[in-house]
């Protein structure tokens, strides 16, 4: 496991793929509070805009940041991880790898772990610069809220990652796996919404709920149901991917 994991991690660094994700997190971490601060000043002085942007706060900066994470960063996660296992099976390299004394499940697990760690690093970096800028421009962030939202975003993005890896193993096609998992992630949340359950259990709700928590408006508990769903489903998907890959 360690040998394969080390190679997968190194691959992120050496192919610069890792920098794309961390870079995206950092850019949105900076841009979200900054745009919320300067937008009201550069926009035309029309009534309409002034109403929307009159009182931008830490909450508006947070909403902006978590929207970006939900929409753009998650797409980058899918694009980066879609080819982690899918489509590689027929390459000469994978044929060599599959005949080495290594459990096939470990190959999947290590690809997941390397991407999961990258997501975590990106989140920590993104959250850090977001917190610094927002605190400086607006003030009023909750420290524990920040930590909780970090865990919540990690859980949601890891679920997305697990879904991408799983669909990659099933369909064996990177592009297809990418499209399906991006749709699937939000479809899963919509399906949960159809059930007579609170919206908070949906993994996609973790992003939108995070802004209130970070700004100190809502308690950390609103994140708990979604995190449980995300963790349970992600673990199940990862286990299933490993099993399927072992079995050819």
């Amino acid at each position: 496991m360690r040998n394969q994991f080390r190679k997968d991690l190194l691959e992120m660094v050496r192919t610069y793929r890792g920098y794309v994700l961390v870079g995206a997190f950092v850019i949105f971490g900076v841009l979200s509070p900054v745009t919320m601060k300067v937008l009201p000043k550069i926009l035309p002085e029309s009534e309409e805009f002034q109403i929307v942007f009159k009182d931008t706060t830490a909450l508006s900066a947070a909403t902006q940041y978590f929207d970006n994470v939900a929409q753009v960063v998650s797409l980058i996660v899918v694009i980066l991880s879609a080819g982690a296992v899918a489509g590689k099976r027929s390459t000469g390299f994978f044929q060599i790898l599959l005949t080495k004394p290594v459990r096939r499940g470990e190959i999947v697990a290590s690809a997941f772990a390397a991407h999961a760690l990258l997501i975590l690093v990106g989140l920590v970096a993104g959250h850090a610069v977001f917190a610094l800028y927002t605190e400086w421009l607006f003030g009023g962030l909750s420290f524990w809220g920040l930590l909780a939202s970090l865990a919540a975003c990690a859980a949601a993005l890891w679920l997305l990652l697990a879904l991408t890896v799983f669909l990659g193993v099933v369909t064996r096609r990177a592009g297809l796996a990418g499209v399906l998992s991006f749709l699937g992630f939000f479809a899963l949340s919509l399906l949960l919404g159809l059930l007579p359950l609170p919206w908070e259990v949906a993994p996609a709700a973790l992003f939108s709920a995070s802004s209130g928590v970070v700004a100190g408006r809502d308690g950390i508990v609103v994140l708990v149901p979604g995190m449980i769903t995300a963790t349970v489903v992600a673990s199940a998907l990862l286990a299933a991917s490993m099993r399927l890959f072992e079995r050819n």
């Binding site: 360690r2 060599i96 599959l98 005949t99 080495k100 004394p101």
Partner: protein
């Protein structure tokens, strides 16, 4: 299975839809032997090798590796096998030494041991010159050498090479053959190829398949002695046409092809030919320059067998397969 066989395939069969790519093929690879696995394009060589390695699961039949039924979770057995696929590829961002150390990491936890082995393999396969370069942009021959080096990282007892010489220039082919000769001292090999001359010089056994079926399985020495003298060459100073016309009617002549002043004659009865050809030369008063029988090349065996017109002979040869 016999105790010295490292690999045994029994009735291997693989179907892709309607196509039976491999059709009840059985064979054995014995310790220390090099098996040339020969067949035309699409014969089912790659499919067979992938089943041996557990990259494809057979529809029928079983594979025994070192006496154990093949199982992709049997890591102990996998550790004793090296494989170079038909189109070897590697993570493009890696350098060769780095790649070898990574592969070595699957066999040993001791970093020093791995490093040492990787450096040895770099040297053994002439990769030192490429040490500073990324795998991206390696030529076909360079990839082949790195492929063989990684296959040897775990000191395997069985090596599986799929078309190691295809796409290489004559020098590259010669190099690969030399490497195979050296690896032969350390492991049993099964090497697929459609270029018979590549394995003819170095293989101990020949396994031939065509359209998924085994058509020949015998030691190389036996194939050659079996067929020795089937083709005779007679060269005369002049009057080759008259000689050809006279010989064409003989019952033991299967085919005659003129080559300048010489005739290549395929015969069914070597003894009769040996008596009657010189007699015919004497009768016409011709000057005999050369008269010889030679062992057919594997190429000729291959062509005559794949033409599918010599069923009894095929069965006869199978008897010698052991």
């Amino acid at each position: 299975m016999s105790p010295d066989s490292v690999l045994e395939a029994v009735d291997l069969t693989k179907r892709f839809g309607n196509l039976t790519a491999v059709d009840h093929v059985s064979f054995t690879v014995k310790a220390g032997r090099l098996v040339g696995f020969v067949g035309p394009n699409g014969a089912g060589k790659t499919t067979t090798l992938k089943m041996i390695l557990g990259l494809l699961s057979p529809d029928e039949g079983v594979v025994f590796r070192f006496g154990r039924e093949a199982d992709s979770r049997d890591l102990e057995t996998l550790a004793r096998i090296g494989y170079v696929p038909d189109v070897p590829s590697f993570p493009e961002w890696m350098r060769p030494l780095e790649f070898l150390e990574y592969i070595g990491g699957f066999f040993s936890r001791d970093a020093e041991t791995v490093k040492k082995r990787a450096r040895e393999m770099m040297e053994e396969f002439g990769l030192e010159r490429l040490a500073g370069r990324k795998v991206e942009g390696f030529s076909r021959g360079e990839k082949q050498r790195l492929g063989m080096a990684q296959a040897m990282m775990g000191e395997p007892e069985l090596l599986v090479l799929d078309e190691p010489t295809s796409g290489l220039d004559p020098l590259g082919r010669y190099e690969v053959i030399t490497y195979m000769e050296r690896m032969k001292g350390k492991a049993a090999l099964i090497v697929s190829t459609h270029l018979l001359e590549d394995v003819e010089r170095i293989c101990d056994d020949v396994l031939m398949i065509d359209r998924g079926r085994k058509i020949l399985d015998a030691p190389l020495s036996e194939i050659k002695s079996f067929r020795e003298g089937d083709t005779l060459t007679v060269e005369v100073a002049e009057g080759v046409d008259r000689l050809a016309a006279a010989l064409a009617g003989m019952p033991w002549v299967k085919a005659i092809s003129p080559r300048g002043n010489a005739l290549e004659i395929m015969v069914s009865d070597k003894k009769a030919a040996g008596r009657e050809i010189p007699a015919a030369v004497a009768r016409f008063g011709l000057e005999l320059l050369r008269f010889e029988g030679r062992p057919p090349s594997l190429e000729e065996v291959f062509i005559s067998l794949t033409r599918g017109d010599q069923g009894e002979e095929r069965n006869g040869m199978r008897g010698g397969a052991g």
